[in-house]
């Protein structure tokens, strides 16, 4: 009973290049204190140059590492079967010019897109009709309606994404946060399913119990 340990893999983990990952980096354990601290210090993997951005470590590999060192421990894995390690490499800081370029790309692009949209749905005609509906007067340029409209356009987007330039309206994640989380999760699920190691994991013979 006291030789039994429960092991739960983490869902994701970031690691630096060439930094050795120990069991404690990829999983948490439940069991007798001495055994748990012993297992936690076992090395699991060291990312090398060969690995690209992600490494998938499956639970059997970790069990193999544990059983090779401590053959008579009964590990019960719970939770995900694989964990995706994202390898952070030293990357040169992004040039501000590059960021500025993308800022301008988005800025000009969205300005053009909204103008195309307005033309497409005859927004000017609708504004003129709306102005006529409210005031009873015809006006070619109902600016009193159109300037607040333009400001509202930006406000509406900010409300939807829950960002007032870095300050949150409330503490819930915005649809954008969830969208990015889902996208990341999709990548991890894909890697777990496609890059996982399918080979069996025998113990090295020197440790095989007699």
């Amino acid at each position: 009973m006291e030789r039994r340990v429960y092991l739960e893999l983490f869902n994701d983990k970031k690691a630096m290049d060439k930094e050795t990952l120990f069991v404690k980096d990829v999983a948490r354990l439940e069991g007798k204190r001495e055994i748990v601290s012993q297992i936690e210090q076992l090395p699991v993997y060291t990312p090398t140059k060969k690995d690209e951005n992600y490494v998938v470590i499956d639970v059997l590999t970790i069990l193999q590492h544990i059983h090779s060192a401590l053959p008579d421990i009964h590990v019960i894995p719970i939770g995900p079967k694989q964990t995706v390690i994202e390898i952070a490499r030293e990357k040169q800081p992004l040039s501000p010019l590059f960021v500025l370029f993308f800022w301008l790309l988005l800025y000009i692009g969205s300005a053009l897109a909204i103008m195309n949209f307005h033309e497409d749905v005859s927004m000017l005609l609708v504004h003129q009709k709306l102005y006529l509906f409210i005031t009873g007067k015809e006006l070619a340029q109902p600016l009193l309606l159109q300037i607040p409209y333009s400001i509202g356009l930006g406000l509406g987007m900010i409300i939807f994404f829950n960002h007032i330039f870095k300050k949150r309206i409330n503490e819930e994640p915005s649809p954008l946060d969830i969208e990015i989380f889902q996208y990341k999760k999709g990548i991890e699920d894909y890697l777990s399913a496609t890059e996982t190691d399918r080979s069996s994991k025998p113990w090295p013979s020197k440790h095989s119990p007699q």
Binding site: L94, L106, A111, I134, Q141, L144, G152, G154, M157, I158
Partner: protein, 140 residues
């Protein structure tokens, strides 16, 4: 005559049903109402928000189809314009989100840190584009 009136009623009713159904489906897909409920923290407001959409659509169609005018001061167009713009802004933001533009864009180009900065580009771009169009572009 009677047949023609009957046919017109049927055609009008079915046309309205199709357009109304499509409109509501579009609003539902974009998730603007859940978003407003999340922000106002009032799940009980759902029914009244639904009615707001329905009554708004009805007012718009009656006003445009029957040439009704309210004949009030032009300053009443200020709040109407602001709210109309905010709705279109939410529509545009929701559409951008449905199309998954941001996660792909920022992750591929390693721009995660600048996400809000880049969001501002889009928001300000929409405002500038719209203002430019109404103030200058329409004259050409």
């Amino acid at each position: 005559m009677a047949f023609e009136a009957f046919a017109a009623v049927i055609v009008g009713l079915s046309g309205g049903l199709a357009v109304g159904g499509g409109f509501v489906a579009f609003i539902a897909v974009l998730g603007i109402i859940p978003r407003l409920i999340q922000l106002s923290k009032r799940t009980t407001a759902l029914r009244s928000f639904e009615w707001a959409i329905i009554l708004g659509a009805l007012t718009g169609s009656v006003a445009t189809l029957h040439g009704i005018t309210l004949k009030v001061s032009p300053f009443f167009t200020l709040p109407v314009g602001l709210l109309a713009g905010m709705f279109i802004g939410m529509l545009a933001a929701a559409l951008a989100e449905v199309l998954n533009v941001f996660p792909i864009f920022t992750r591929r180009l390693k721009l995660e840190k600048y996400l809000i900065f880049l969001m501002m580009a889009i928001v300000l771009g929409k405002i500038t584009g719209s203002l430019f169009q109404w103030l200058f572009f329409v004259k050409y």
